[in-house]
């Protein structure tokens, strides 16, 4: 397992941080204003071969663990929140494939050729009209005919779907399967169509370009990820989502507080000898930022430790209620703390933070992290935790 100090001085973080500063941050305002995909960021990540960070070394990738991926997503989000979110989502999809392909020749080739050699970008389609935000149920089902299959899905949001090279889609296993008996199916560009059904004119995270879309795809049954989504969701999609999202939200909050700190320093230089009042506000906000960072880092370290020996016992441990509660609590804590910290940054900076064209502007940061409590609604997550706590004893 790679330690935090090794990660902080490692090449993955250094190269990502350089792209965050030199590319993502330069285009972040334009991406936000035009609600467009951060193409420059992803061209740079692809060129630096950073899109395969989550692919195991056995398949030619960097084999980065959760802590390293989280650190990478946080660094990129400091330059552009939407870029950090797209990278996190891509890693989540890649991890589902890498951790659940179970020796499938199709997926092993996909990991090596598409994800590593060609540095392709994978999107996912987990939302659907009629499931009311519950990713663990599907209306649509994959239609199987011999070794051929096809799927149609009416999705409410498809993040960067038009900009990705493939879609990883949830659906029911068969036409007569229960709503929660799901599988993941991978469709490569050229074998599907995505007809946009809405717009993506949102408060924040505008560069993720996530409108609704009607999906229609076809291929062979080899493209169905082995096993069940019940397992890949609990063992991979949920922990990767909640930890990497929490990491990138902390990156956005860190940049907002970084701007506040620069503003406070500039004021202090004009009047050396006295600590300005907003420096005290900043000191208090840093307490919360540290707690937020340590929260996701400790969950990431726990995940990396649990999966160091990726055997059946480790997989089972990720399926326990104790782990599910830990993930829910992390997600709720960080998604609620990030907007609070952006709000604090705004109070510290004042009008210069409120202005969009100021170097101390934190408007985009604030709007971006307001999505955190909504993408998988915290109300739904709290209700699930409440239900689990009726039987969980914390023994």
């Amino acid at each position: 397992m790679t330690t935090l100090s090794a990660i902080k001085t490692g090449p993955l973080l250094a190269r990502t941080a350089a792209i965050a500063t030199d590319v993502a941050a330069c285009h972040a305002a334009d991406v936000d204003a035009k609600s467009r995909f951060p193409q420059e960021t992803f061209d740079a990540l692809r060129q630096a071969r950073l899109l395969s960070a989550a692919v195991p070394a056995t398949h030619g990738g960097a084999g980065a663990g959760m802590l390293e991926l989280g650190t990478q997503c946080a660094a990129l989000a400091q330059g552009c929140g939407s870029s950090g979110m797209v990278l996190a989502m891509h890693h989540i999809q890649v991890a589902c494939i890498a951790r659940h392909a179970q020796g499938s020749a199709f997926f092993e080739r996909y990991l090596r050729e598409n994800l590593v050699e060609r540095q392709e970008l994978v999107a996912s389609i987990t939302s659907e009209n009629g499931t009311f935000g519950d990713t663990r149920s599907s209306v649509c089902a994959v239609a199987i005919d011999g070794d051929r299959m096809s799927l149609e899905k009416d999705a409410t949001t498809v993040s960067y779907g038009q900009h990705a090279d493939a879609q990883l889609v949830t659906c029911r296993r068969t036409a007569d399967a229960a709503a929660s008996d799901q599988v993941l199916v991978l469709f490569e560009k050229g074998n599907y169509t995505l007809a946009q059904t809405g717009n993506w004119d949102t408060l924040g995270m505008r560069g993720t370009c996530s409108p609704g879309a009607k999906f229609s795809g076809h291929g062979t049954t080899a493209q169905i990820l082995p096993g069940s989504f019940a397992d890949s969701s609990a063992q991979t999609m949920v922990p990767y989502s909640h930890i990497l999202w929490s990491a990138l939200w902390s990156g956005i909050a860190a940049d907002a507080l970084g701007r506040a700190a620069a503003f406070v320093r500039a004021g202090a230089r004009k009047n050396p000898g006295s600590v300005p009042p907003n420096a005290v506000q900043l000191a208090r906000a840093q307490v919360e930022l540290q707690a937020m960072r340590h929260n996701w880092e400790s969950c990431a370290i726990a995940f990396d430790e649990m999966t160091a020996e990726d055997d059946q016992a480790a997989r089972e441990a990720l399926g326990t209620m104790g782990w599910a509660l830990k993930m829910n609590q992390l997600k709720m804590a960080c998604s609620e703390m990030a907007p609070k910290l952006c709000h604090e940054a705004l109070q510290i900076i004042g009008i210069m933070g409120y202005k969009n064209d100021s170097p101390f502007s934190v408007g985009r940061h604030y709007r971006d992290v307001l999505s955190a409590a909504l993408m998988v609604s915290n109300g739904r997550i709290a209700a699930k935790s409440a239900s689990m706590l009726l039987v969980f004893k914390d023994d």
Partner: protein, 83 residues
């Protein structure tokens, strides 16, 4: 054991929200494939704790322990052994 299985089926009938009659389930039928959601499984756990006057320790609160009538019966057997 068979008496426990009947009581487990009665709990499933009331709380698992299966898409078929719990009485027709084999001991090894997959309850999740029969439509039990993770939310419904919590209600099943609660009802089983009440019905059998037991408490499932946290290490048993995982999907595989509640995936079939047989798996549930084995877990309950372990908790009530020697009573």
């Amino acid at each position: 054991m068979s008496e426990n299985a009947a009581r487990i089926r009665a709990v499933l009938k009331d709380h698992a929200r299966l898409n078929r009659d719990a009485e027709t389930l084999d001991d090894d039928s997959d309850l999740y494939q029969a439509g039990m959601t993770s939310h419904a499984s919590v209600n099943v756990m609660l009802a089983l704790e009440g019905e059998f006057d037991i408490e499932f320790p946290d290490h048993m609160l995982k999907r595989s322990v509640f995936e079939s009538v047989g798996a549930i019966a084995a877990a309950i057997g372990e908790l009530t052994e020697g009573r």
